[in-house]
Amino acid sequence: MFPELIDTRPLRRAIDDGLNWVVRNWGDEFEAAAYPLLMLLKAIEDLLIATPWWLIMAILVGIAWLATRNWKLPVVVLVSLLFLGMMDLWKDAMTTMALMIAATITAIVISIPVGVWMSRSLTVRNVITPVLDLMQTLPSFVYLIPTVMIFGPGKIPALIATIVYAAPPLVRLTDLGLRSVDPAVMEASRAFGTNPRQRLLGVQIPLALPTILAGINQTTMMALAMVVIASMIGAGGLGYQVLQGIGRLEVSRGLFAGLGIVVLAIIFDRITQSFGKQLQGRIGLAEARS
């Protein structure tokens, strides 16, 4: 056994007491701070559930067609959505989709500025990269419990846990995309007297957009990967069906709901990827990267 060099008990007690103190004294403030997130999630969920099923199908199939200009993906999307409807998973699927969309939107709002900041400073990158590693590798239950303690069980901790898990790839890919813009183009832009804002908005972000979109694709996928865990703390949706299936040993319920998650993943993965490809083609990077 490794010799006991220090006594870790006081440290652990300090952390536990600290968390309890935060929960007791700041719990309400934290909840109030996260209220806009809850509103966002609720608004999206209400909208998706209130929209008739055929309209949602029409919109998603339409988006799929816009992304590919081809009949294949729209058919895949249509069949996937029919599967969700016929398996009686529609409402749960909408709840899960709402969580995923809310998490993705929040992740975009946070990650892109952080990615921009990282791409400009080596120091910032050196500080943030290990934080991202931590966010992706730390078992979600480790931060799920304190979040539940602070915010109480329900949709907010579920959303926050999903964001923590899903945001890092977008930060990384934004940083990568911005840094890998052709230096010759950046220099030309500088030679014409652009200021940093003009270079960022006019050159860097448009040219990094395919990479950023790949990051958004990753974020949606990782958000879907979190739905079962998120449903443990009250997110509901397809994850909750899986959980119930496991709890009641109803294999079929777990299987169908699980397939429902896969179907959602396929829809959003293919759509975001196709948009990425379309964008690459427009910028002329398709040949260079294939």
């Binding site: 220099e187 030309a188 030679a191 007297g193 652009t194």
Partner: protein, 352 residues
């Protein structure tokens, strides 16, 4: 006080004046600079301090309205030199005065305005924005300057036509050939209507025939627009063809600066002599620079004063003397085959 005024005056008729510009790449350039100024060579400085000398005490005077070519092999510092003019690279020491203003004293904001309004640049790798159409690329500089959309598109369309790309306005850069892309790059620089255009190996990436066409077009444009063009190249033939004056750069230092003929007829050292040996001298040397000046009896055959040696060679089959006339047809001198042969013969120090 007076001396300074005079100095400032003589510089104001220069487009670009560089004085003792030195650039050292590395962590502690000042230490390496001290070594360099104490008389060590570029190689010694690099061995001792691990700093690379990009430019070594470069002084150039570039008068308005000429094509000034800086010629050098790769690693000679020519691309570093041109980037000092618009301060894409900051010098370690020296002074750079453009249109009478000290570029190095500008604040960041002043520098941006200076880049937007006084110097435009054309790049070897084109540097076009791949996500914008040709016309939006050409209008880019004006957009950065804050010109309204309608006005800048009209202006851009005009320059696209000038460089011979009419009809390609809405194309994407990647759909164009290398030569066409560089025409876009040239139009983008011309659209800014700056007095000075910097061209960094602008034609080096192009096929020989297209390159030759672009050179002719550049000479024509310069004649009609009267811009000051600082042109960088590694190609001596190109330098001789388009340059009003040429500076030869090696190891970051200017080896020789002068008119093309000066360099061809009187190479300053062995390094330049090596270049001269490879060029087609008959094409490089103007007859006016070797002719016998003054009033002579009228010759039966005459050539213009812009003629090169290769133009008069066929005439010697029939004639002993060939006259040289100015624009108005007035004979200003004459040449004989002997003079031409002497000019074309290999330069040997101590002979002739």
């Amino acid at each position: 006080m007076n001396a300074i005024d005079i100095q400032a005056d003589t510089r104001s008729d220069l487009a670009i004046a560089m004085r003792g510009v030195t650039k050292i790449f590395g962590e502690k350039p000042q230490e390496a600079l001290a070594l360099l100024q104490s008389g060590r060579s570029k190689a010694e400085v690099q061995a001792e301090t691990n700093h690379v000398v990009g430019l070594d005490n470069v002084s150039l005077d570039i008068a308005r309205g000429q094509i000034f070519v800086v010629m050098g092999l790769s690693g000679s510092g020519k691309s570093t030199l041109i980037r000092h003019v618009n301060r894409l690279i900051e010098p370690t020491a020296g002074e750079i005065v453009v249109n009478g203003t000290d570029v190095l004293k500008m604040s960041l904001d002043e520098l941006r305005i200076y880049r937007r309004t006084q110097v435009a640049m054309v790049f070897q790798k084109f540097g076009l924005l791949p996500h914008r159409s040709v016309i939006d690329n050409v209008a880019y500089g004006l957009e950065v300057r804050g010109v309204g959309r309608q006005e800048r598109l009209t202006e851009a369309a005009k320059w696209i036509e000038t460089v011979g790309l009419a009809g390609y306005e809405q194309s994407q850069p990647r759909q164009l050939s290398g030569g066409q892309q560089q025409r876009v790059g040239l139009a983008r620089a011309l659209a800014l209507d700056t007095d000075i255009i910097l061209m960094d190996e602008a034609f080096s990436a192009l096929d020989p025939l297209i390159r030759s066409g672009m050179q002719d077009q550049l000479i024509d444009l310069q004649k009609s627009l009267g811009k000051t063009i600082l042109f960088i190249t590694h190609d001596f033939d190109e330098a001789l063809k388009i340059g009003d004056r040429i500076a030869v750069l090696k190891d970051g230092a200017v080896q020789q600066e002068g008119k093309p003929e000066d360099i061809v007829l009187r190479p300053a050292n062995e390094h330049i002599e090596e270049f001269v040996r490879e060029v087609n001298k008959a094409r490089a040397i103007h007859v006016r620079s070797i002719m016998e000046k003054g009033e002579h009896e009228l010759c039966e055959q005459a050539v213009s004063k812009d003629a090169r040696c290769e133009d008069v060679l066929p005439l010697f089959a029939e004639h002993q003397w060939v006259g040289v006339v100015d624009e108005s047809g007035h004979q200003i001198g004459r040449v004989t085959a002997k003079q031409v042969i002497k000019a074309l013969a290999r330069y040997t120090p101590g002979v002739g």
